[in-house]
Structures are given as C-alpha cells and as structure tokens.
C-alpha cells in the first residue's frame, strides 16, 4: 500500500473536497485556509507532479480564460489508486486515534 506523506495527503483531500474546481489556484487557497499558513505554488505543483507520476491523480486540461492571459487551467482528478491510498491513510489514522479518547499529558 502506498504511504502518503502529509502534504500529499492534504493535497489529495483538497482535490476530493474541491471536486470539479480542483485546479492550482483553488487548491492553493483551500489548503492555505485549512492549514493556516500560506502554501507556495511550488509546494503545490511539485508534490502533485509526483502524485501524477505515481498514478494517484489524473490531470486534465480545462478551458483558457482571459483572466489567465490565455493560458489553460490544469485540473486534477483523484484516481482509484489515489482514493485507495487516501482511505488507507484515513484507516491508519483512525486506528491510531481509536484508543486515545481523552488525551492529556
């Protein structure tokens, strides 16, 4: 089973959340808001590139807009493998949290 790193996991979750709106700008906004600090464009695209290479996400092109100076948008869709990895990650997570109901030091 493919192990995801934390940034990878967050990106995959973002993609799942954003559904049809999962492209660079929106992903960046989403994770920045959720994690509380601003992510850089590099820390979005580089891991996504790796994920794409491993087959966990599938990039597809969207239409060009005037707003982007005529450049197309690249959307990301999660694949089955990606979904499996994400769910596996969640399962491990839940298992580990299961017995720590009221955590305190």
């Amino acid at each position: 089973m493919i192990q995801l790193t934390k940034p990878e996991e967050l990106l995959l979750l973002a993609i799942c959340n954003l559904k049809d709106e999962a492209y660079g700008v929106e992903i960046l906004k989403f994770v920045s808001e959720k994690t509380g600090y601003e992510w850089s464009i590099g820390s979005i695209y580089v891991p996504l590139d790796k994920l794409a290479a491993k087959g966990l996400v599938e990039p597809y092109l969207g239409e060009a807009t005037q707003k982007r100076g005529g450049k197309k948008k690249r959307y990301y869709k999660i694949t089955k493998t990606g979904l499996d990895a994400l769910l596996n990650s969640k399962k491990i997570h839940d298992d580990m949290w299961a017995n720590i109901k009221n955590i305190s030091i």
Partner: protein, 862 residues
C-alpha cells in the same frame, strides 16, 4: 482595448525566474495560476502588496523546484549512464581514440604534477618551516663577488645569546665520507656531519626513541636508522658506541632517515663539542647556519639584525672592509626556497631550478590541452553520425536543454573513465618516471583526504570544459535539415575545428623544437671542448690533510703503471675559485682575477695547452714566485706580449689556453695560476688529480687507496671521478631534457591520434564524392591528394605559427648560458618535417583505404 491591457499588466521578471526553475511540464499552468491570483490580489489590495506577494510566492517555491529536479535528476542518472555506454559501444573506434587520448593526457599531467609538487615540497616537513631561514654570506673583496652558504661558527651562537627574536640557531658542517669500524673491518659511511645541540630545535628529526638527544658533550653522536642497521643490525642502540679510526663516539639518539625532499641528507651527526670549533673566529667560514625565528618575527627583522652583527663583529675586526667597495653582509634564505632557488657556493647538494619547474607545469598543461582539443574535435566531427539520433529525439519532444545536458554528461563520464585508466597508467609508470627524475615519487590515494575528490573533480572539470562546445553544437542541429537527408549543411567547414587542429599541432611542433634544442644544448655541455680533458681523472679529496706528505703521496702514486699523471691543486674543475685583485704594470687600478693554485704537473694531468711562455717547471726555482695567466686574462690586460710583464710585482711566465673551470653556464673568468702563496692561502693542495689509463679504474683506486692509507695517518680516503663531479652541474638540464624528450613525443602522438579520428570522419562523409571521382577516372594518387590537401594546409599553418614562437622562447632560454649553441634553421625544419610526415602518414593511410573502396558500394550508400 489598451486601457484594459494596462490594467491587467503582469510583471515579467518574476515569471522569468519561475520559468528557470520550474519544470516544463507544469510551468504553463503554474504561471497561469499565479497570474490569476496576482490579479485577484491586485484588485483587492494595492499593486504593491500584490507584487510583493508574487515575489514571495516564487522565492518560496524555488527550493521545492530544486529539490524536484535533483530527485528526477538522480533517477535519470542511471538511464543516462546506460545511454552513454550504449553510444560508446556503438562508435567503438572513436570512443577508443577519445579514451586513449584523454587517458594519456591525464597521465602525463598527473606524472608531471607529482614531480612539480615534489619540487615545491622540499623541507616542508620541518615544524614551523616558514620560520626557518638559512644565513648565507656575500661580499666583495679585491673587486670580485663572493657568495656562499659558508658562515662562521660563532654566528649562530651570537644570534642565540644576544637576540631574543631568534628562537633557536644551529650549525651544520658536512665532513663527507668517513670510515667506521664494523665487524672488525672499516666501512665508509657518507654524509657525516658535525652539528650542535640545537639542530633538533631548528629542524624536525623523527627520533626513534623519543629521548631528547643532547649532542652537547664531546664525542657524542646521533645516527640515522639506516646507519644503525648497517653497523649494529638493530635500532635500539642508544648508549652504544661507534668507532672511527681514531675516536670513539657514544650514540645518544637514532633518527628516522630524512625524507627525500630535504635539501640535505645526513646519516651521522657528530657533536661539535668533539672538535675545537670554538677557536674559529668571524673570518673562519665553512659552517652552515640555520635559525628559527619566533612567531611574528619577520625576515626583514632578521636581516636588520644581521646587518647589526656584521657591523659589530665582522667590520670591526677586518680593516679591509668598507674601503674600496669591499663589503661583507649576511642575508637570509627561507628554508623552503633553498631547493628551488638557491645556487650559491658550497650547497649541500645541487639544488633544483625554479624556472625549470615552472616549465614542466607548462608542458603538463599543454599536453592536457591537446587531449581536450582532441575530444572537442572528435565530438563535433562525430555529429554526422549522431545527427539522426538527435533529429529523432528532437522530433519526439526532447528540448535543447536536455540534449545539451546529455552531451555534457557523456563527456563527464568519458573523462571519469579516462581518469580511472590514467590511474592504472600512472601507477604502472611511476617507478620508471621516478628513476628518470632521480627521486622517489609516489601517489597515495588515502594519505590525504583530498586526493580522490581532486581526481574526480578534475575529471568532471575536464569533462565539462571539453563537453561544452560539442554539447552546444550538437544540440543546435536542426532536425528538419538532418532528417531530410540534406547532408550538405552539416558538412560545412568548421572554422573552429580547423583552428583547434592548428593549435594542437602548433603545440606539438613547439615542444618538438624545444626538445631538440634542449637536447642539443645538453650534448654541447657534455661534449664541448672544455680546454681540458675531464675523462679518466680520479680526484682524491682533502689531500691538504696530508700536509708535507702530499709530495710523497703524489710521487708514489705516479709510479703505478695504470697512472699517467698526478697533480695537486687548490680546487678542481667544477668547484669555485677564490679571487684576488692584482695591479698590472703601468695600471692605476687593480684587476680582479680568479686564482687557481696548482702544482707543476697540472697542465700535463689536465692536458691544458700553453700558448706562450711555459708552464711551471721543476727546473726553475723562480717559478715559485711567478704566475701564469689564461687567454681571457691576457685579453683583459690588453697585452700582446704578456711574458715577463708583472702583476703586482709578480712576473708572468706563461699563457694558457682558456679552459672552462666552472660549468658552461658561466663565462671563463680571467684566471691566474700560482704555485706558491703566502700561508698557502691560495695554493694549499686540497685535491690531488690522478689521470689514469682508460679502463683501469678499479686497480687505480685500489693502489691510490693503499698509498693514502699508508700516509694519511687514519684520515679517511675520499675520492670522486672528475667527469661525474663536473657533470652534476648539469643535472637540472638533464632532468628537463628527459621530460621534454618523453612528453614531446607523447604530445605529437596524442595530436596525431586526434588527426586520425578526424580524418576517418571526413572520409566517411565523403564516401559518395570519392565514389563519383573514381568513376570519373581519378586515380588513387589524385584522391589521396584531394583528400589530404586540406589537412596538410593546416599542418603547414601550425608550423608557421610555432616556429617564431619557439625561436623566441628557446633563444631566451639559451641566453642563460654563457656557452650555447646557435639555433639553426635546420632544427625547425626537422621538427616540422617530422610532425608533417607523421600526420601525412596517417592521412595517407586513411585516404588510401577510402580510395580503394569499390565505387559501386560507395555510390549505393544513400
């Protein structure tokens, strides 16, 4: 329209930077995203905030992009390696030529640099070597300069006692070879010194038993490991005794043999206390003084201290100094400079020559340049072979940057392999090279932590340098023109390539010429008529210790059948002469002459021609108060008839032909010969020269030794052969001649190798042309001529360039010698012809091979 655009203006610079770092595959999208966000920000906040945000974004992303390209790069590395090896295998011949050329070039470079490194490393193993100086003296008396390492015994003591900036000062005096008792017999041990207790404070000797040896007491001695093993077969010999013929010495320490990069080597050091050195004053020279300064004391400080000392002690005691340009001074020589630059009288050993060492470095560099040029030329010439591959790659989507990197990578790999091969070669050749250069050279990979990284870095550097031009050239090839089969464009004459070939051959011709001239000059040194015969002469040293018995010694020796003539003299050819100022008849000022004290048989023993008057003779008692001058002296005096004229009241009874007493580096000095002088100051017979029959060395030595032993009262027998002694003056020239001989040939070989590769290519591309010409009726000769014409033009150009440059440099070098050959045109011609011929041979062979091909086959090739 315009308004809308200006509202949405996006700064270009940040995006350019982004493009530099981000990967191709997503740059478009990432930049689009950034634009969107930027415009968004700009509309909600100020322009400035947005702009700053943009920069922040990009700068934050850069580390990630770098990280990405590194990890992708790592994965690609293996893939590239596979491709590189596959390519090399496909073009076996050319890869082989490249590897050979580069390996040989690197090997030469490494070998020479090992030598250069060794030369520069002399005496660096002493602790605080930068603070150690030798003190030498120079002065002028009677009009001639005297510069020597010999200093008075008291100098070191004075420095030590009275000047606190001197941390320590010591003296050394080489006795030479002494016999020591060993197993009931006497064996000769050379390099016996006198030293004082401070020797070990100034110098760093590796003592075997870690005791602080004293050398304070008389009759104590420290010996080297080698000596200990020789005499005792053991190294734990402290407190044991060794015996000279008249003395017993207690061993107080054993030291590890001095490494080879030391300007003096010694086997035994006897304490100064053993002899009565204290009685020697400031005028008695002969000891070598070394000082170690405190940290922070500069050489200048030491020099001013020495000036003080000279005034206080030397000038005070000698009324001659300070008048008439007579002076004396001490000066300092940094320890590490001695080997490279010091060539005073009475050096311990013949030192190296800094200028020559630099020449070696240039030679090493040249060879490397030639090898790199080969690689560049071959790679670019190969382009026709790789063109299809490149074309297809480009069509399939590879970009210039990628291709460029691939080619640079290829060249780095080639260089790394060459470095590996050159290591094998270096290790194989090192023993021979060491012998050639007369010193142990070795390469330790693990001693210094930086040896291996330097080799690898070296390979990478050469790889990048050699690979840059081919990489750019190849990656720029247009796939359309290549794949459409339009060979013509690719075939265009490359000016750069031709220039490089010319450069290669110019360097080779230059080195060839240099080699011939240096070796001619060396030959000249060794064979020129010196005005005396230096062969078959045995020199017995220290005959002054025989005192009155010297005449008996000479008489007995001359009775032996193998011996032709015997003579005693103050100095032997190759040594330095003292000088004396004399007042010629009718002149106002004194003239300085070199003085050689000798006996009446000197001319016979050395075969010196008398051109006027006669030599000293037994028959005339008055000869003892007369002198003989040489031709140079006569010219200087300007006397047509010098006989019976007087110099300072002493009559001239003869004139001899000039002879080169010192090496041919220097002019013959105006010299006078004396046979007697006050206090024997000039005429003490320090050496006896014995001319023997050809081939009778062994019996001559044996007989002379016996005679010596009978008369010498225990003083050890010490001898040399004059020709060997005289020739040591040329050892530096011999070194450079050997190096040039070997490496000039290698450089021509490497350049020729490159030419071989180039011609193969050219010919391959011209196959169709050759086929057509043959069909049209051209003969083999025609074809060979046409094909080789271009290359031969290049070689001729190389010669034209190299000749004047070589002439300039060699003339410059030769001007260092008083006696030198003339640079004859023939040399240039010979070098040029040789290189030309060699190149022509290669081109011919290739051309004939191409010319013999069946035109049908070549024309069918499409």
């Amino acid at each position: 329209m315009k308004d809308k655009k200006s509202k949405n203006l996006i700064p270009r610079l940040p995006f350019l930077i982004l493009q530099l770092f981000a990967d191709q595959s997503y740059y478009l999208f990432a930049s689009g995203d950034l634009e969107e966000l930027y415009l968004d920000k700009k509309s909600h906040n100020s322009s400035l905030t947005a702009y700053l945000w943009l920069w922040k974004q990009i700068l934050m992303s850069i580390p990630k992009f770098i990280q990405q390209s590194l990890s992708w790069g790592g994965m690609m590395l293996l893939n590239h390696m596979k491709i590189v090896f596959r390519n090399m295998y496909r073009h076996k011949i050319y890869s082989l030529i490249n590897l050979t050329g580069l390996s040989i070039g690197m090997t030469c470079f490494i070998l020479i640099m090992l030598f250069v490194n060794n030369e520069h490393s002399y005496d660096n193993f002493h602790k605080d070597a930068d603070n150690i100086y030798r003190i030498a003296g120079k002065g002028s008396s009677g009009g001639s300069e005297y510069i020597s390492t010999a200093t008075p015994w008291v100098l070191a003591e004075t420095l030590l006692e009275k000047y606190p900036e001197v941390e320590s000062a010591t003296r050394l005096w080489e006795l030479g070879t002494l016999p020591f008792k060993h197993n009931g017999d006497m064996i000769d041990i050379n390099k016996v010194f006198h030293g004082d207790q401070y020797v070990f404070e100034v110098f760093t000797f590796d003592m075997l038993h870690n005791n602080k040896p004293a050398l304070v007491e008389p009759n104590t001695v420290v010996i080297s490991e080698k000596t200990a093993l020789l005499i005792f077969n053991d190294v734990n010999v402290v407190d044991k005794e060794i015996h000279t013929s008249d003395n017993t010495l207690k061993v107080v320490g054993v030291f590890k043999d001095l490494p080879s990069n030391s300007h003096f080597k010694c086997n035994i050091i006897i304490s100064y206390a053993t002899i009565n050195a204290k009685s020697c004053g400031w005028m008695n020279l002969g000891h070598k003084t070394y000082v170690k300064l405190q940290n922070g004391v500069s050489e200048k400080d030491l020099n001013s201290t020495l000036d003080e000392i000279v005034q206080k002690y030397v000038y005070a005691g000698n009324k001659n100094l300070g008048v008439n340009d007579n002076y004396w001074m001490y000066f300092t020589q940094p320890l590490k400079d001695i080997h490279l630059n010091s060539n005073l009288a009475a050096e311990f050993e013949v030192n190296g020559n800094g200028a020559y060492v630099n020449t070696f470095m240039v030679v090493a560099f040249f060879i490397l340049v030639i090898a790199c040029i080969n690689y560049i030329n071959l790679s670019t010439a190969k382009s026709s072979l790789r063109s299809k591959e490149i074309g297809v790659k480009k069509v399939l989507g590879s970009n210039r940057k990628l291709l460029r990197n691939q080619f640079i990578f290829e060249s780095i790999i080639t260089c790394l392999i060459s470095v590996l091969i050159s290591q094998l070669l270096v290790n194989f050749l090192l023993p021979h090279f060491s012998m050639l250069m007369n010193r142990p050279l070795e390469i330790n990979y693990f001693d210094n932590y930086f040896v291996i990284p330097i080799m690898i870095g070296f390979a990478i550097l050469i790889g990048i340098i050699s690979g840059l031009y081919p990489a750019f050239f190849l990656s720029n090839l247009n796939p359309v023109t290549i794949l459409s089969g339009n060979q013509k464009i690719v075939l265009k004459k490359s000016l750069l390539r031709n220039l490089l070939v010319v450069l290669q051959f110019s360097i080779s011709v230059f080195m060839f010429i240099g080699t011939i001239i240096v070796s001619q000059q060396l030959d000249y040194f060794q064979n020129k008529d010196l005005g005396f015969d230096k062969n078959n002469i045995l020199i017995v040293n220290k005959t002054n210790l025989l005192n009155d018995q010297v005449e008996d010694f000479k008489n007995i020796v001359s009775t032996h059948s193998s011996i032709k003539s015997v003579s005693g003299s103050f100095q032997i050819p190759g040594g330095m002469l003292k000088s004396l100022g004399l007042l010629p008849d009718g002149a106002k000022d004194r003239i300085t002459f070199a003085v050689l004290g000798c006996d009446k048989k000197f001319d016979k023993t050395y075969n010196i021609k008398v051109t006027a008057g006669r030599f000293f003779s037994e028959k005339f008692k008055s000869d003892e108060s007369s002198l003989i001058i040489n031709k140079t002296a006569q010219k200087l005096l300007g006397w047509e008839e010098p006989l019976n004229k007087k110099l300072s009241g002493i009559p001239i009874i003869g004139v001899i032909e000039d002879f080169n007493f010192s090496s041919l580096h220097k002019e013959v000095a105006p010299t006078i010969l004396l046979t007697r002088s006050r206090n024997m100051m000039f005429t003490m017979q320090n050496h006896v020269s014995i001319k023997f029959e050809e081939g009778t060395e062994t019996e001559t030595i044996a007989f002379v030794k016996t005679t010596w032993d009978n008369l010498s009262n225990g003083v050890p027998f010490s001898y040399t052969f004059l020709d060997e002694y005289y020739n040591t003056q040329y050892s530096n020239e011999e070194n450079i001649s050997s190096v040039l001989n070997t490496f000039a040939i290698l450089s021509v070989f490497i350049a020729a190798l490159g030419l071989f590769g180039l011609t193969s290519f050219m010919l391959e591309r011209k196959t169709k042309e050759i086929g057509i010409r043959k069909v049209m009726g051209a003969s083999i000769q025609n074809i060979v001529f046409i094909l080789s014409k271009d290359f031969l033009k290049l070689i001729i150009a190389a010669n034209i360039i190299a000749w004047p440059i070589a002439f300039f440099f060699m003339n410059n070098w030769l001007s260092n010698f008083a006696y030198r050959i003339d640079v004859s045109f023939a040399v240039f011609f010979i070098a040029g012809i040789n290189v030309f011929f060699f190149a022509f041979l290669i081109i011919c062979v290739q051309s004939i091979k191409a010319g013999l091909k069946n035109p049908i086959k070549s024309l069918r090739y499409e």
